[in-house]
């Protein structure tokens, strides 16, 4: 009897897993199907690259350059992720390893900051970006995300846990602060760096509402907004829309699969 239930549980979990991945499978398979077979049969009569060729070439003539958008997305995401990692590590270092007046006050302020949801700031932040003359630039997307309270919090917490002996030893050898951060603290807390990097990258890559507001120029848009606008205007070009969706999804999935170990750690860390 017990065995029966175990087998049933496995079968249910397998079916559920397939069901959960199914939208991905459908998306990828459909993006390689001839246009008239996308709805209808699951396996096509032949596989084709025409949709990918379309978004690479023809979409340019429709003012929707997917390649440019992909480039923008990569540019924005890489700069923001690097910026968050560097600033979080530096500020986290100062808040955990340097003694100065007001340190705890700043740390408590950072926790206080995290209470407020991002949507509260959208309208006034738009006013600020407009006053700075940054509308329709990639900088408008990058600048407000370049430093993260959550990132500083995570780095401060994990740097605090590093035993003092490591730092004393490094200082004895005449190491400066940057060297200590790069060669001692970050390697010892590599999972924190990975978690912050992973979540920041996914968050900024997938960001939709903010770039939708500040970027209306098709050549400056990240892929998320360009894909949405292409879908709204040319939704009947089903194949290219799906190929674009694959393009938008794959970097996130690949990075997730590479760093999956840290994603799991991140979930259990967020409980504390």
């Amino acid at each position: 009897m017990r065995k029966f239930w175990t087998v049933t549980l496995y079968v249910v979990l397998f079916i559920a897993s397939v069901l959960w991945i199914y939208p991905y499978i459908w998306m990828v398979v459909a993006s390689f199907k001839p246009a008239n077979e996308i709805y209808g049969q699951f396996l096509p009569s032949r596989f084709t690259l025409e949709h990918y060729r379309f978004i690479l070439e023809a979409a340019d003539q429709m003012d929707r350059s997917f390649m440019l958008a992909l480039g923008n997305s990569i540019f924005i995401s890489v700069i923001v992720t690097a910026g968050v990692l560097v600033t979080s590590a530096l500020v986290g270092f100062s808040l955990s390893r340097l003694a100065f007046k007001g340190r705890n006050l700043i740390f408590n302020f950072i926790i206080f900051q995290m209470i407020f949801p991002g949507f509260m700031f959208i309208v006034p932040l738009y006013v600020l970006i407009r006053n700075l003359g940054l509308i329709d630039t990639r900088t408008a997307v990058i600048l407000p995300s370049l430093v993260s309270a959550w990132g500083v919090f995570m780095f401060t917490q994990s740097f605090r846990a590093v035993p003092n002996e490591y730092l004393e030893a490094a200082k004895m050898d005449g190491a400066n602060d940057i060297w200590i951060i790069r060669k001692v603290l970050v390697p010892l807390t590599s999972s924190t760096a990975s978690i912050v990097g992973l979540f920041t990258f996914i968050g900024i890559w997938d960001n939709f509402m903010w770039p939708l507001i500040v970027v209306r120029d098709y050549t400056k848009m990240p892929l998320s907004v360009l894909l949405a606008s292409f879908n709204m205007q040319y939704g009947s070009y089903l194949g290219p829309v799906l190929a674009g969706s694959v393009l938008q999804t794959m970097p996130m999935v690949v990075i997730f699969l590479i760093l999956r170990k840290y994603f799991l750690q991140g979930i259990s860390m967020s409980l504390k």
Binding site: P23, F119, V123, A149, I202, L242, T249, L271
Partner: protein, 292 residues
């Protein structure tokens, strides 16, 4: 010498965190002040701003659309929260039982969580379309076509289902790590005392899972107030404005109706509503748990 080192350290500390404070003053503090100023102003981004005290808030509570969205939000919660909590709990309990393929199951559910908001909205729109694969299937088996996104009540349910699909892996794992933290000895002791399967579940598992469940509840409540991409792309708020969300309302008020003042007062009210829901939930659900 020692004193000079100390001053140097304080100087370094202040310049690093000072940089953070400067950035925060510009991109957090300044907008924060402006949010409050705007919420009490009438403005169209161009002509001079007019200070009108609490008129925006008064207008807000008389606004039919605001209450429509208010009802939509709680309607959505009614579908979403029981569904996501129930299924995440089942997923976590299932995971706890299996030894083989555990990582595979976790990844299969988590990969949904890292799907792009825009791409997965598009995919679900196509999958659930009237002539889409899902309706092909239901037509073939039951002979019915289900208007997933074009019938008012169903559209809310459909979006709740999409969001559930996305978050079960994440929430399930939070509950799962709560389950892992319950010591086996507790169950063994209960078995010696003759406790049955259900007694163990309701007397040990559920009470000790309280922190994880509260966490998932808080996350899903905050999420509900932040939904934008799915209805914006799939239904545009329709049919009959039943899937209109607070975020869409803020967006359209500020950037299509060009009324940033009203949108700011709305953002404040929505944030307060969200805080209120979280505090209320914690008060009602949270229990002290001691694991000795």
């Amino acid at each position: 010498m020692k004193r000079r080192l100390k001053t140097l350290e304080a100087l370094k500390g202040w310049s690093l965190s000072g940089g953070y404070l400067l950035y925060t003053a510009i991109f957090w503090g300044y907008p924060f002040v402006w949010l409050i100023v705007l919420a009490m102003s009438k403005w169209n981004f161009l002509t001079p701003r007019r200070f009108i005290w609490f008129d925006n808030f008064i207008k807000l509570f008389q606004d039919e659309l605001f209450w429509r969205v208010f009802i939509n939000t709680f309607n959505f919660m009614l579908y979403f929260i029981p569904m996501v909590i129930g299924l995440s709990l089942l997923f976590a309990l299932g995971l706890k039982r299996v030894k083989l393929f555990r990582t595979f199951f976790i990844l299969a559910f988590l990969v949904a969580n890292v799907s792009s908001g825009v791409a997965y909205s598009i995919i679900f729109q196509k999958l659930f379309a009237i002539n889409g694969p899902l309706n092909d299937l239901t037509r073939a088996i039951f002979g019915v076509t289900i208007p997933w996104f074009s019938s008012p009540q169903l559209a809310t349910l459909s979006i709740a289902m999409m969001v559930t699909w996305k978050f079960i892996g994440y929430y399930g794992l939070i509950i799962f790590s709560g389950l892992q933290a319950i010591p086996d000895t507790l169950y063994e002791a209960a078995e010696i005392d003759g406790a049955g399967r259900w007694t163990k579940f309701f007397r040990i598992t559920v009470p000790l899972l309280n922190p994880s469940i509260v966490m998932v509840l808080v996350l899903s409540l905050t999420l509900t107030f932040g939904i934008f991409t799915e209805p914006f792309l799939i239904t545009g708020g329709g049919p009959m404005r039943t899937t209109y969300t607070f975020q869409m309302l803020i967006y359209t008020t500020a950037f299509q109706k060009i009324n940033p003042g009203y949108a700011s007062s709305l953002a404040i009210v929505v944030a307060l509503l969200s805080f209120g829901c979280v505090i209320l939930t914690r008060k009602l659900v949270e229990r002290e748990v001691e694991l000795a």
